[in-house]
Symmetry: D2
Subunit: 347 residues, 4 copies
Amino acid sequence: MQAIVKPGPGPGARLEHVTVPEIGVQDVLVRVRAASICGTDLHIYKWDRWSARRIHPPLVFGHEFCGVVEKIGAEVTAVREGDFVSAEMHVSCGLCYQCRTGQSHICQNVRIIGIDSDGCFADFVKIPQSNIWKIDPAIPVDYAAILDPLGNAVHTVLAGEIAGLSVAITGCGPIGLFSIAVAKACGAGPIFATEPHPYRRGLAEKMGAALVIDPDKTDAVEAVLGATAGMGADVVLEMSGHPRGVRQAFKMLRRGGRISLLGIPSKSVELDLASDVIFKGALVQGISGRRMFQTWYQMQALVKSGALHLEPLITDRIALKDFEKGMDLLLSGNASKVLMYPDGKPQ
Amino acid sequence: MQAIVKPGPGPGARLEHVTVPEIGVQDVLVRVRAASICGTDLHIYKWDRWSARRIHPPLVFGHEFCGVVEKIGAEVTAVREGDFVSAEMHVSCGLCYQCRTGQSHICQNVRIIGIDSDGCFADFVKIPQSNIWKIDPAIPVDYAAILDPLGNAVHTVLAGEIAGLSVAITGCGPIGLFSIAVAKACGAGPIFATEPHPYRRGLAEKMGAALVIDPDKTDAVEAVLGATAGMGADVVLEMSGHPRGVRQAFKMLRRGGRISLLGIPSKSVELDLASDVIFKGALVQGISGRRMFQTWYQMQALVKSGALHLEPLITDRIALKDFEKGMDLLLSGNASKVLMYPDGKPQ
Amino acid sequence: MQAIVKPGPGPGARLEHVTVPEIGVQDVLVRVRAASICGTDLHIYKWDRWSARRIHPPLVFGHEFCGVVEKIGAEVTAVREGDFVSAEMHVSCGLCYQCRTGQSHICQNVRIIGIDSDGCFADFVKIPQSNIWKIDPAIPVDYAAILDPLGNAVHTVLAGEIAGLSVAITGCGPIGLFSIAVAKACGAGPIFATEPHPYRRGLAEKMGAALVIDPDKTDAVEAVLGATAGMGADVVLEMSGHPRGVRQAFKMLRRGGRISLLGIPSKSVELDLASDVIFKGALVQGISGRRMFQTWYQMQALVKSGALHLEPLITDRIALKDFEKGMDLLLSGNASKVLMYPDGKPQ
Amino acid sequence: MQAIVKPGPGPGARLEHVTVPEIGVQDVLVRVRAASICGTDLHIYKWDRWSARRIHPPLVFGHEFCGVVEKIGAEVTAVREGDFVSAEMHVSCGLCYQCRTGQSHICQNVRIIGIDSDGCFADFVKIPQSNIWKIDPAIPVDYAAILDPLGNAVHTVLAGEIAGLSVAITGCGPIGLFSIAVAKACGAGPIFATEPHPYRRGLAEKMGAALVIDPDKTDAVEAVLGATAGMGADVVLEMSGHPRGVRQAFKMLRRGGRISLLGIPSKSVELDLASDVIFKGALVQGISGRRMFQTWYQMQALVKSGALHLEPLITDRIALKDFEKGMDLLLSGNASKVLMYPDGKPQ
């Protein structure tokens, strides 16, 4: 089968012909219909410090996709051949404290398909039954291919009360932009977004943010306080991982508000805990992955309800073999979600 | 001023000329712009058993309204003359356990304006500063007049998680119908509604329920189970107070789901607690009034966001002096919210 | 091996010699050190209507125990031979909605070891790895044998806030009595208990209830209201399943309080939902089993902390072969937990 | 009356004769029985940078006390002359968003008695009815005098689940030490404490911490990880405000755990948000003051239950006129709570 392979340490990747994965009794083999490029894939492609430490080539990477069940192991009952599926790519151990108490998204022994083992940038991908997600056929292929990052947004937005609350989102990468859609669909408003890159600010406006702030030109904290009668936003979603974004996120939160951190800072951040957390009575949440499988159920229901308008975020559709074009688009900053089709045809 | 007065024990009411209320240092005098008739007003008008016990005529009744501040007491700082306002009509004591722990909506010593003292079916109504609610001028008068019952719906819908969940509503009186709108605006779906009266079923369809069931003709429990792959609804909102409605509400709830009870049964109800609550691991909530003032903040934000479509529910607009026509409309069952204007002119 | 067997439909049971269970690759074979008799075992022994419907003899029954790992299947990593263990006997499917959202204690497809398959009243019992619970060796054998019912109490008490709150417990069977100990250990107080049987009332006093009420002689609702300045108890735990107990439980709850239902009524119960749930703003919870495995972690920490004083509740210790004596003791009402030892020697 | 007065900017304080406060219609005049010195009083006494900015002398300071109602204003109904009382000294506005949504402990317009107006280091103190707290006479005077700091501990410990969980407390000032007692009384365990000062470590041991760590000599993070099989503590209470303490607190938290911050860092702290919050799925809470009045109810019930053992923390008892001795004791570090009696006699 064809697959995008990181052949060894160093930048770049290659389209190669590799053998189709063999499945065990508890596994599902999925024929990939569409896959989507994550920021993490870009890191692996560019081969940054994190990749050099974590990735062991050769590796087929990619972890956002949907497809159709091609074959199932002898003990698989969750799906049948022909089912339309996606998958949670965090494979948890099932036996640690977190797994045994409903928090397997922060399993101590997690392995990630597409990072720690071969992923979905290929004609076929192997998924353990425990992680397969059967998709309602009413959901379009293109949406089904981006459930993984949409799930990050759903997890973050729904990690606390959201309806009837004002929301500030710092950073408009794909997950930040998805979060605008999810928050709106869940009754939040008004929604404020900060983002230095003009292309992304344009998308934030299309997604329906009430106020889109360029933090390079405007004091983002002042802007949000000004739009909330000086109170600050009820909920802040930190999606940038940038030190300035993080600090501003805390400053624009109202007393007693919730701030959920998803963007990953590359180093330590200085915080004024006294003013911005303690006296404020703030609730700060670290958000990682998607809740298994609450997030998936919530996400599927939201997509099916028709309340989520995600079209503007699928900015590009290419054949899998043209992956380098997709990487370039994302590196330029002038793209959000890029979909790739193993059979070459956009849906 | 003109006022609708229950002059003494017995059915009916009269339009009378009465003196404008005198206000104390902590009070606000409001010129009523629009008022709305509640089911409770209908009970008082008809003089049922509850009214005979609770109401001490003569009484100006009515408790759903909006208006403009006419005059404020010396110590009032929350509003100014000319402000657009409504009010929470449950006046809590401020000193009991419930009031001192953030639950003043279930105050042990609550008094209700329009039931225990003169209400808003008049040119003017007196409101203590603690209960006044300043309305964003962007909100239309007709919506502002129905914040009280809308608040019941918002309180019920948002008493637990709602986004991405299926919801069954048993009973489509005004609050049941409002709940459809609120649940949709907050990301719930699909929404199922049961209601024997055809006029109300028609409104439920207009509000966007995915499935509207006539429980006189269809097994409502089977219908909801059928629409949820046998699981039952994630959330059930009991809005009928009818014994059959209540029992069906429990039966259509999924294992581990939430059922919120707002409809008031007139007598005891037999429940199969073993199957319908205990083995199911159900969460059952009694819902009363509106949370002071979380519900008001949430409601205002939802209305302002534009996500709530309430127009179909304001079925009639009349002059205050024609209140008997409004009562008749509601008694016929072919109306939902009836607005009355003291100055005679629909907005 | 020796085992207590229900040989066919009808009352009674027999001590028989049966073959040791064969284990699969994911199973654990446990040598039973001590087992304890549950009310459910008594139902099976007496062969009531529920048993006749649910139990398919021949069956080795019993589901409360501890023991030592004798042998493990090839894929078992959670425990090793010689480990001191107990087990959660509700085997969940792992694939239904409830299992996939952290609520496997209310799995749609649950099977119970000792009810749906051979249990622990034997020298050996087979447990799937997913359900094995490794016990801290610091915990005494006799406590380890009653983790299952203690877990019901821990689940119920900790299903909401408990510290600094008054608690009323209706019904002092073993789980009600355990709940007194757990509530005290978790900072609750004062604790009120109702129970018609004098032996159990004596145990409730030993467990440290501040007020123990005989509902046959005293108005239990008045007693609890009197002890709480008319407010009612902050938390009510319904452990009787008796119609009067259930109704009183709702009446003795304060406005805004939590009532958790664990006792199983044998038929429908009439409830005054208007007064006792809705206007009260009550939170009602159905409690079933133990949360997997939060309850087990909490329980183990509570036992290890030394704060739980359970000794008075282990009223009898006998050899497994004398099980009929244990059943008789429980049927007389003058016992609480009866421990049975396969090797005949009390620990 | 006698009062401890900060007469003007600068270090020190004086015992002066001043007039008894005049009360308004909503006020309560309390005769002080016992008062206690807070770390904040020490800052005011020493006149640090914070005091110079916040305090406007002349001021009678002090905010921890109990006493007896001497006189009430005409509209006071909450207490009567002769009642045993303490008070919540944070006076909230009642009209801001936080006050109107049950979060008055983080009121936008809060004023603190003893900081922004005359406090309790005097024979009499004036308290608004809204803030008076009637104490059960069963509670001893010495405990009643320290409800304010005990309330900080109760608020922090009970800001999330605690029973059956391991707890690490960084910093053993009085509130840290109270937290050990509260956590134990609420079923937590084991409890780990870190503190560089030997006198305080001794008190932490007396309070029942399972492990008391000197962070100057031992790696506190390693010690807690070692005591929790590498998992980290379920709950961390940061009570030091010290940069090292704060950073270690985050590092010793388990994945998915709760960390509550109460200690006030004097400047910004560098945090590794990626590892210590985000990937960990941590819940971080800022804790300020006491919840009005949930914390007071919980605290009173805990004290009455007899489960709180606070005696070791009341290290010194002096006459009010000897306040300088009390300040010196605290400055030396060899004291925890110092009680002062206006009538000179320890209780």
